[in-house]
């Protein structure tokens, strides 16, 4: 049977994937208009936050080849001949079909506004659109997006990521995301987005785009204007039905190829799936219903009997870091329904649930600002699970008692759909676990659940843990295939057995050869326990690359060098030395966020000489390459500042010198502020210290990064010695008990009892280990040496820094730089 698919988007690809999995004999041909094979359009905005086109790709051209699918890219179909059952492409390829699948998707809906043709006006749809935007954004300062819906806000996020200084969102309706959320929810969302720097204009209709050749301003219906250099139109979608229309297929009045419950068009050999199809007067602009449509058609072409009867439009997304979700019927309000609303304007959270009059069933709802409960609520709604006696508990949590997070999932029936992207039920997942899929990755591989939007992954984990527990299996967080222990167990074992090298640890308590997961984890434990030079005893090759070369590897394979500048205090003489070294070795210099200086672009073989000079000038390693203490940032404090209460710089230097080189499960950052104005940003650090009238307040477990979290107050008004004692205990307890690569914030989040428990351990010695923790820390402090000094002084160790083993004097000839302002940068990688 010959099947031709027009369109190689997400749904077209999913159709291919499902079709080839059926093992039927098909001759499959795919035509795609874009030059790339299908990619993940849902996560398109991540292209701006660092994902490449390759990362977004769903399958390589090789995949199509391996599955015997003929793929024509960059070759749109021009004509369908329904009489001869052939199609003709732009490049004059003619192919016959038995069945034709239209998966032509949609294009951006562009309202007719005079001036659309000007330079700097874009739509937001394909990777090419993104590339054009990226190029243009370099010269734009102010930008706007027309459309305050889901796509519009995504586009606004993209603009912010592109570095546009001022981004406006122009929405015609009276609220943001009018299809998903109500007025109150929209208000909360708006406040939240505005606090993140977006400027939002609702009830605003764009009359004209002004500018000579390129856009310079927009004029609105009330004749006000807004100066912008760039505009993205993202006001909705329009089905790509022109091909269908041209060959006489029935299309809807406002677009869309009319299909029945089999997704059959008015020609029984032609099907339409995804955003181009009009089912029951409805166009589904989401990926999950598109996938379901693909599944229905594949089933029917392979002898099955399935129908598409509409699809739930529930959705959860993260818009510029704000969670937004709506499910079931988000707006319903009748005599037979009741509504429960929770609103917290301080934190920017809005939750609404619509329930039946008797309070038994959930009918729909809206979540803004916090949507962790989404999957659970969606399943409760879809499966008509009876609500608890106080229905508000489902959005507020059971108050006055510890709630069991997994309890809700356990109550779901086996048919409950957990992964709506891939239609995987609770029963499928539990069966997979029973059949031996005992990790989330294994479940993903075996059932495909969690491979679409990924929203159900936390539920997968809960279901897996619950199923394993119910089988009486003890669940252990083991390191990898070479060690059947958790990090905490390994730490204790290595200590008791007094093991000092990776090989000794592997021989004694592991098996096999090790890997890139266990090697750095064990190397870190060894360093935390014994504080011996990390490149000795054969431990050099167990270190992750940065630790192995005591520098941070950067694009192109050169390294960056960061000498320690405790508390950010540096003399003019030392600054001059840094400048001279950077000049001599042609390094790019930049001030880091941790108040020190980073020198980039050093060749591997130059590192020992650079450090020789730095050490001669009195510098030491800054451990920027290690999962170790980085910096203790400080404000200038009472020695100069008219507000300062204590000498924050001196205390920061003391703290930094105490814990320098301390290896830990992850990097550790700290700061000391001289007063409550908090100029050192201590509350965003793993441990932060803020001066008070009476002493120091100690905050712990904060971090910046992708999931910022404020540090929590551990203890108040401490004197210097008590403060250090508590930090000793806190850090050592963290080092001994955290999982690998876990920052203190995540460590605390996972800790049963949270900050109260931690406070008990550190201040009240509830475990009776405080003295031991202090002694262990003192041992590490006493055994500190500068790693770079040891390398510089050893010819044997210096040898390891040559690029070529057989041409030690030659540098890597493939290293390339490009000029940047008055310095240089690494050449862009492919």
């Amino acid at each position: 049977m010959r099947i031709v698919i027009i369109g190689n988007g997400m749904v077209g690809y999913k159709f291919c994937e499902k079709l080839v999995s059926k093992n039927h004999e098909f001759e499959i041909t795919v035509f795609g208009e874009e030059v790339r094979p299908a990619y993940d359009r849902v996560h398109l905005s991540e292209y701006f936050s660092g994902k490449s086109a390759e990362d977004l790709s769903l399958a390589s051209t090789q995949w199509y080849h391996d599955n015997n699918i003929k793929l024509y890219l960059g070759d749109p179909v021009k004509e369908i001949n329904r009489v001869n059952k052939t199609i003709r492409s732009h490049n004059e390829v003619i192919v016959s079909y038995d069945y034709l699948i239209l998966a032509t998707g949609s294009s951006a809906f562009v309202p007719s506004i005079p001036g659309l043709e000007k330079e700097g006006v874009f739509v937001y749809r394909t990777i090419e659109d993104l590339e054009m935007m990226t190029a243009y954004a370099r010269k734009a300062k102010k930008g706007a997006v027309i459309g305050g819906g889901l796509l519009g806000l995504e586009a606004a996020k993209a603009m912010m990521d592109l570095g546009i200084e001022e981004t406006h969102v122009i929405e015609f309706a009276s609220r943001l995301m009018p299809r998903q959320i109500d007025d109150a929810g929209s208000k909360v969302l708006r406040n939240k987005l505005e606090s993140l720097g977006l400027r939002i204009h609702t009830n605003t209709y764009t009359k004209e785009i002004i500018g000579d050749r390129s856009i310079s301003a927009m004029q609105f219906a009330d004749d006000t204007t807004l100066d912008v250099n760039m505009l993205v139109i993202s006001a909705g979608i329009k089905s790509r039905d022109e091909l269908a229309k041209a060959c006489g297929l029935q299309v809807g009045q406002r677009g869309g190829i009319v299909v029945d419950d089999q997704l059959q068009t008015s020609d029984e050999s032609i099907f339409a799936i995804g955003e181009c199809g009009l089912h029951n007067n409805m166009i589904y602009g989401l990926v999950a219903p598109g996938y379901e449509m693909a599944d229905v058609v594949v089933a029917n072409l392979t002898g099955g009997n399935k129908t598409f009867t509409g699809f739930d439009m529930s959705t959860k997304l993260k818009l510029i870091g704000v969670d937004v979700a709506s499910f079931g019927d988000p707006f319903i309000q009748t005599d037979n329904t009741r509504t429960v609303v929770f609103e917290d304007t301080r934190k920017g959270i809005y939750k609404r649930i619509n329930i039946s009059k008797d309070g038994k069933h959930l009918l729909g709802g809206i979540l803004v600002g916090e949507a962790e409960a989404y999957n659970m609520l969606l399943q409760t709604c879809k499966n008509k699970v009876v609500l608890p006696p106080n229905p508000e508990d489902v959005i507020l949590g059971a108050r006055g008692g510890e709630a069991d997070a997994a309890a809700g999932i356990v109550d779901l029936p086996d048919e409950a759909l957990i992964c709506s992207c891939e239609s995987v039920s609770k029963g499928d997942i539990c069966n997979a676990v029973t059949d031996g899929c005992e990790t989330v990755d294994a479940i993903k591989k075996c059932t495909k659940a969690g491979t679409g939007c990924g929203g159900c992954v936390p539920m997968l984990k809960d279901l897996m843990l619950h199923t394993l527990k119910s089988q009486g299996k003890y669940i252990r967080n083991v390191l990898c295939e070479h060690f059947s222990y958790s990090r905490q167990e390994l730490y204790d074992l290595i200590k008791v057995k007094e093991l000092k090298s990776f090989d000794a640890v592997l021989d004694e308590i592991g098996h096999g050869d090790g890997c890139e997961v266990c090697k750095p984890a064990i190397a870190s434990i060894l360093a935390s326990l014994w504080n011996e030079m990390i490149l000795k005893k054969g431990n050099d090759t167990a270190q992750d690359s940065n630790d192995r070369y005591l520098a941070n590897i950067q694009k192109g394979g050169t390294y960056s060098v960061v000498p320690r500048i405790p508390g950010g205090e540096v003399t003019p003489e030392k600054l001059i030395v840094i400048g001279q070294i950077a000049q001599k070795y042609n390094l790019y210099t930049k001030i880091t966020g941790g108040q020190r200086i980073d020198m980039f672009g050093a060749h591997l073989s130059d590192l020992p000489s650079i450090w020789e000079e730095l050490i001669a000038a009195g510098f030491e390693s800054g451990h920027a390459y290690g999962k170790a203490l980085r910096t203790v940032k400080s404000c200038v404090g009472s020695t100069w500042c008219r507000f300062g209460l204590h000498d924050s710089v001196s205390f920061a230097i003391r703290i930094e010198e105490r814990y320098r080189g301390l290896r830990a499960p992850h990097k550790i950052k700290s700061a000391v502020s001289g007063c409550i104005r908090e100029c050192a940003e201590a509350q965003s650090k793993d441990f932060g210290i803020i001066a008070t009238e009476k002493g120091w307040n100690l905050y712990v477990c904060g971090n910046g990064g992708s999931k910022p979290q404020h540090a929590l107050l551990l203890a108040q008004d401490l004197d210097d010695e008590t403060c250090i004692k508590y930090i000793d205990r806190f850090l050592m307890f963290y080092i001994k008990t955290a999982d690998p690569l876990t920052r203190t914030a995540t460590w605390l989040n996972k800790m049963e009892g949270g900050i109260d428990y931690l406070r008990n351990v550190v201040m009240n010695d509830s475990l009776g280990i405080a003295e031991q923790l202090e002694q262990e820390m003192q041992f590490l402090v006493d055994h500190y040496t500068c790693e770079w000094r040891e390398v510089v002084e050893s010819t044997e160790l210096r040898k390891r820094f040559n690029h070529f083993v057989n041409a030690p004097e030659e540098k890597d000839p493939t290293v390339k730089f490009e000029p940047l302002r008055d310095q240089k940068r690494a050449a862009e990688w492919k």
């Binding site: 295939e481 096999g512 050869d513 890139e516 167990a542 057989n806 890597d812 492919k830």
Partner: protein
């Protein structure tokens, strides 16, 4: 492949066995090529592959950590932890990533030799 083509392996002396760190790698220069040479001491095996990681075209594999997965020896690129089989060069954690080239290695005395495939009848080298 044409049947007139025959492949010869020519061996060149790369370095001394002690030049290579235990359970680690070094980069060897051969004409304009960069070859990553690994001494998997734990398994008493030697491997050589291209030094270029195909993922982002970075000359870095010799600086990667070696290890094994279900008994298959592998190297992890320091940049994004793509792992490659040291036996046949396939990427073990990303199907979309290209394979890397592997080279035979032999030890004679204390010298490590790496084998380069040369085509006899063509002037062109087969190596990339």
């Amino acid at each position: 492949m044409s049947n007139t083509l025959s492949i010869n392996i020519s061996w060149f002396a790369a370095c001394k066995t002690t030049d290579v760190p235990v359970n680690g790698g070094v980069c060897v220069k051969y004409k304009d090529e960069q070859i990553a040479l690994f001494h998997f001491t734990r398994r008493n095996e030697w491997f050589a592959t291209q030094n270029l990681c195909p993922h982002r075209q970075q000359m870095a594999l010799s600086r990667g950590m070696i290890g094994s997965q279900d008994g298959e020896p592998k190297v992890a690129c320091p940049f994004h932890k793509k792992t490659f089989s040291l036996v046949d060069g396939h990427c073990m954690n990303d199907d979309a990533c290209d394979n890397i080239k592997t080279y035979p290695v032999k030890i004679e005395g204390t010298t490590v030799y790496i084998g380069i495939e040369e085509c006899e009848n063509a002037n062109e080298k087969l190596v990339a």
